[in-house]
C-alpha cells in the first residue's frame, strides 16, 4: 500500500487564534476514497481532527471539502484521483467552526429564502397531478441536488459577497420554477431578480465544475436569468 500524505488545515477555537497546517501520513490504496484516509488519521493517529460525514458514498452531502484546491466530497473522490500528497481545507465562504467543519446555517438560510417547496393551491383530489415525461424531464437535473454546498462555496462571487444567494439556492429555485405542477414561479423569479439574486452570477462555471452530482448549474442559472428577462418559463 502506498503512503499518502495529508496536509490538513486545522483550527480549534479553544486553542488556535488562526488556522494552522498539520501533516499526517497513512497507508492507503489508490482505490480508497479520501474519506478512508481521513478516518485512518482520526481513528489511529489524531482523534481531535473533526470533519462531517455520513453516507460515505456521495449522496448525503456531508463531507464537501477543498481537496488540492478543488471542492470535492471526500467520500466520492479516490486517492488515485488526487495523488499521494494532498492538501485538505474547509470549504470557503462559510465561517469555520473547527477544522473542516463550517457553519452551514448561512447556506441553509439562503436555501430557505427561495421558497424551496411545491406551491400549488388547487385541490388535486384523490389522484396524482398529471405530468408528462417531457415536463418531468424539464427540471430533472436540478432535483439531484444534495445541498452539500460544494457549488456555492466554490463561487468567487460568493466569497466576496456572502449576501449573494448562491448557486445551490438558485438550483433549488430552478427545480420548482420549471416544475409544471408549481404555481409560484413568478414569486421565486422576483426573489432572484434582486441585488443578491441571479444577476450576481458572472458565469465562471466554478459551481458546475464543483458539483459532485454533475448538475449543469451554470446552465440552470442562465435559464432562470432568461425566465426573468423574457418573463417565460
Amino acid at each position: 500500500m502506498p503512503e499518502v500524505e495529508l496536509k490538513i488545515k486545522r483550527f480549534d477555537p479553544a486553542l488556535d487564534r488562526a488556522p494552522r497546517w498539520q501533516t499526517y501520513h497513512v497507508q492507503a490504496e489508490d482505490t480508497d476514497p479520501v474519506l478512508n484516509a481521513l478516518h485512518e488519521v482520526k481513528y489511529h493517529q489524531d482523534g481531535t481532527l473533526s470533519f462531517r460525514r455520513s453516507c460515505a458514498h456521495g449522496v448525503c452531502g456531508s463531507d464537501a471539502m477543498v481537496i488540492n484546491g478543488e471542492n470535492r466530497l471526500a467520500c466520492a473522490v479516490l486517492i488515485g484521483q488526487v495523488g499521494h500528497r494532498m492538501t485538505i481545507e474547509p470549504i470557503r465562504g462559510l465561517p469555520v467552526i473547527k477544522d473542516l467543519v463550517v457553519d452551514m446555517e448561512p447556506f441553509f438560510a439562503q436555501y430557505r429564502s427561495v421558497l424551496p417547496y411545491l406551491i400549488n393551491s388547487t385541490d388535486p383530489g384523490y389522484a396524482e397531478r398529471l405530468q408528462s415525461p417531457e415536463d418531468r424531464e424539464r427540471f430533472d437535473d436540478t432535483t439531484k441536488c444534495i445541498l452539500c454546498a460544494a457549488c456555492t462555496t466554490s463561487c468567487p462571487i460568493y466569497w466576496g459577497n456572502s449576501s449573494y444567494v448562491g448557486p445551490a439556492a438558485i438550483v433549488n429555485a430552478h427545480r420548482f420554477i420549471f416544475d409544471s405542477r408549481d404555481e409560484a414561479a413568478a414569486e421565486r423569479l422576483d426573489i432572484l431578480n434582486t441585488r443578491s439574486g441571479v444577476w450576481r452570477c458572472r458565469t465562471a462555471f466554478s459551481c458546475t465544475e464543483a458539483c459532485p452530482r454533475d448538475i449543469k448549474i451554470t446552465e440552470a442559472i442562465q435559464e432562470v436569468k432568461r425566465a426573468i428577462l423574457y418573463n417565460r418559463i
Binding site: 479553544a14 458514498h57 417547496y117 427540471f139 439531484k144
Partner: protein, 579 residues
C-alpha cells in the same frame, strides 16, 4: 458542562423520512422540536434507491391485498397481518400525498406515476412479478427525503441540527424529557416534553460490509434499551444481495427490476435454480442465501472465488442512463468499471434491521406481550418494529413504512400531547449523560474505540451474517463480551467541546455493542430458520415453536433476557415459501 433547558409538547428524535413525516403531521398542532445529530437532508433515507410500492395499478392490474399477501409471505409469516394490511392499504394514499407534496416521480406516457418490478412483489398471490414500485430514477429515497424536508421548511418546523440525543427520562412510566448533546458547543440540553417520537434509523454499522451510513449506530434503540424498553426481533437483520464487493455500497434491486441478472461461475443464471418463477426477483433473504451458497460450493468468482456478478450488459444503454443513473455511477466511481459493458462484482451487504423498538400501529412503544404502551413514547421507521417486515422486509417497503408509520405516529402523538398535562422535568435528567461523558474524558490511556468497533464489525459479518450456527453465534457472543469489557476501559483523545466526534463515536460504539449482543442472544435462542435468520444447524422454519416475536431486555445485572409475544395473524395462513 453547561446544561440548558427547553420546554416542548413533543420532541422528534431523528430527521430522516419517518421523523420528517411525523414532524409534518404535528406541525401547527403542537409545539414540537425535531432533534437530529446530522442535518435533516443527510439522513440515510436519502440513500434509498429503487422505489416505494403501492398498488396504484397505474401500469397493470394490482390490488393492495396482493401487496399485503406478498409482504406477509416475504416476512416469512412473522409480520403482524393487521399492521401489514394498514401499511399496504395506506400505501396508495401515501404515494398520492408525496406526489401532492411535489415529489418528482417518473411518469408514464399518460403522465401518471410510473411503476416498476421489485423483488417479492407479485400479481395475484405469486403468479408473476408485478409493476408496483413507484420511483424517481434510482434516487427515490433522495426525492422522499428532499420532499419531506421541503414540506417542513414550508411549515416552519423547528429543527435542532447536530443535537445528538443521548438519554430519555421516563418518570413514573411516562416520558418527561429527552437529553441531547449539542455538537457545536459540547453543552447538554434537556428538552422537557409530554411525548417523544424516536426515528433514528438503523444500526447496520455493527457489520463490516454494510450499506449503512457511518452514522447509523442505533442511537434510539440503544438509549431506550438502557432505560428498560425491550427490543423486538433483533435477530432478523437483512442482508441485501447486491452490495458492491468489499465496499458494501448498495446497488438497488431496481437493477434486477429493470432486467439485470445475477451470474456465478461460468456465467450461470443461478437464481433459476433457487426461485424458478421469479428468478432474480426473489426476496432479498433468498437471493443473499443463494449467493453465499454459490460461493460456498465453489462457484464464486474472482481470485478468492468470493463474489458473484450482477450483469446489466444486455440492457439498452439508454435504459441504464434513464432508470439507473446513480448506481451505475457508483460502479464507475468505486470499481472503475463500466456497467454497460462490464460485469459488476457483488456480495451481500448488511442493510436493514427488521427488528427494533416494539410499537403498535399508532407508533406507540409497547413493552410486553400484552401490548402495554408507554404513555408519550413513540417510534417509527427502521428503528421501530411494528412489525410489518417480520423476518424479512420486501424491497421498497421501508420507504413505505417510514411514510405510513411516520404519519400515524405523528398523528397519535399530536392527539396525545393535546390531551395530556405537562409533568415537571426531572432535576437530574442530564446527570447520567454528564457522568458518562466525564468518564470518557477522564480516561486518557485505554482501549482504542476504532479498534473495538472494527473487531465487532468483522465478527458480526463473519459469524452473525447470512448464515449462522450455534457455534458461530457462541463465538461472536464471546467476542462481544470481551469487547464490552474493553469498552469499559475505552479512552478518547479529544476532550474539547467543539464538534467532538471522538466523544460521540465512543458513545455510539456503546449502543452498537448493546444491540449486537441483543441480536446475537436472540439469534442463538431461535433454533429455526426464518426469513433473514438462517441457521445451518436448524435449516427449517418451525412454526410450532417459533411463530412468535422475540423481546430482548437488558436486566439490571447487564445480561440479556428473552421473552416472546405472539404474531398477530390474519387472512393468510402460513405456507411454505416458494417463489
Amino acid at each position: 458542562m453547561n446544561v440548558h433547558h427547553h420546554s416542548y409538547d413533543a420532541v422528534i428524535v431523528g430527521a430522516g423520512g419517518a421523523g420528517l413525516r411525523a414532524a409534518i403531521e404535528v406541525a401547527g398542532k403542537c409545539h414540537t422540536a425535531v432533534l437530529t445529530k446530522l442535518y435533516p437532508t443527510r439522513s440515510h433515507t436519502g440513500a434509498a434507491q429503487g422505489g416505494m410500492c403501492a398498488a396504484l395499478a397505474n401500469v397493470e392490474e394490482d390490488s393492495w391485498e396482493w401487496h399485503a399477501f406478498d409482504t406477509v409471505k416475504g416476512s416469512d409469516y412473522l409480520g403482524d397481518q393487521p399492521a401489514i394490511e394498514i401499511m399496504c392499504r395506506d400505501a396508495v394514499d401515501a404515494v398520492l400525498e408525496l406526489e401532492h407534496f411535489g415529489l418528482p416521480f417518473n411518469r408514464t406516457p399518460e403522465g401518471r406515476i410510473d411503476q416498476r418490478r421489485f423483488g417479492g412483489h407479485t400479481r395475484n398471490h405469486g403468479e408473476a412479478p408485478v409493476r408496483r414500485a413507484c420511483y424517481a430514477a434510482d434516487r427515490t429515497g433522495h426525492m422522499i427525503l428532499q420532499t419531506l424536508f421541503q414540506q417542513c421548511v414550508a411549515r416552519g418546523v423547528t429543527f435542532f441540527n447536530e443535537f445528538q440525543v443521548l438519554d430519555v427520562s421516563l418518570t413514573d412510566g411516562r416520558v418527561t424529557a429527552v437529553v441531547a448533546y449539542e455538537l457545536a458547543t459540547g453543552d447538554l440540553h434537556v428538552f422537557g416534553c409530554k411525548a417523544a417520537l424516536f426515528a433514528t434509523g438503523g444500526f447496520g454499522r455493527m457489520f463490516q460490509v454494510s450499506s449503512n451510513a457511518v452514522t447509523l449506530t442505533g442511537d434510539g434503540p440503544g438509549v431506550l434499551y438502557r432505560r428498560g424498553i425491550p427490543l423486538e426481533d433483533m435477530e432478523f437483520f437483512q442482508f441485501h444481495p447486491t452490495g458492491i464487493y468489499k465496499l458494501g455500497i448498495l446497488l438497488s434491486e431496481a437493477a434486477r427490476g429493470e432486467g439485470g441478472i445475477l451470474r456465478s461461475a461460468g456465467g450461470e443464471r443461478f437464481m433459476e435454480r433457487y426461485a424458478p418463477t421469479v428468478k432474480d426477483l426473489a426476496p432479498r433473504d433468498m437471493v443473499s442465501r443463494a449467493i453465499i451458497t454459490e460461493v460456498r460450493e465453489g462457484r464464486g468468482l474472482g481470485p478468492a472465488k468470493d463474489y458473484v456478478h450482477l450483469d446489466l450488459t444486455h440492457l439498452p444503454p439508454e435504459q441504464i442512463d434513464e432508470k439507473l443513473p446513480d448506481i451505475t455511477d457508483f460502479v464507475r466511481t468505486y470499481m472503475g468499471l463500466e456497467p454497460k459493458t462490464d460485469l459488476i462484482p457483488i456480495q451481500p451487504t448488511a442493510h436493514y434491521a427488521m427488528g427494533g423498538i416494539p410499537t403498535n400501529v399508532d407508533g406507540e412503544v409497547v413493552i410486553d406481550a400484552e401490548g402495554t404502551a408507554v404513555p408519550g413514547l413513540y417510534a417509527a421507521g427502521e428503528c421501530a418494529c411494528v412489525s410489518v417486515h417480520g423476518a424479512n422486509r420486501l424491497g421498497t417497503n421501508s420507504l413505505l413504512d417510514i411514510v405510513v408509520f411516520g404519519r400515524r405516529g405523528g398523528a397519535a402523538m399530536g392527539e396525545f400531547v393535546n390531551a395530556t398535562d405537562r409533568s415537571p422535568i426531572p432535576k437530574d435528567a442530564a446527570d447520567d449523560t454528564r457522568r458518562e461523558i466525564e468518564r470518557l474524558f477522564a480516561t486518557s490511556v485505554g482501549e482504542n474505540v476504532a479498534d473495538i468497533r472494527e473487531t465487532l464489525q468483522v465478527e458480526m459479518t463473519n459469524n452473525a451474517g447470512v448464515f449462522r450456527t450455534d457455534h458461530s453465534l457462541r463465538q461472536v457472543l464471546s467476542v462481544v463480551g470481551d469487547l464490552r469489557a474493553r469498552y469499559a476501559k475505552a479512552s478518547i483523545q479529544d476532550t474539547g467541546t467543539t464538534f467532538n466526534y471522538d466523544l460521540t463515536e465512543a458513545i455510539e460504539l456503546g449502543y452498537l455493542l448493546d444491540l449486537a449482543e441483543a441480536l446475537v442472544v436472540g439469534a442463538l435462542a431461535r433454533t429455526e430458520s426464518r426469513g433473514a435468520h438462517s441457521r445451518d444447524d436448524f435449516p427449517k422454519r418451525d412454526d410450532a415453536n417459533w411463530m412468535k416475536h422475540t423481546l430482548a431486555r437488558r436486566s439490571d445485572d447487564g445480561r440479556v433476557t428473552l421473552d416472546y409475544k405472539d404474531v398477530e395473524s390474519g387472512r393468510y395462513e402460513p405456507m411454505e415459501r416458494k417463489y
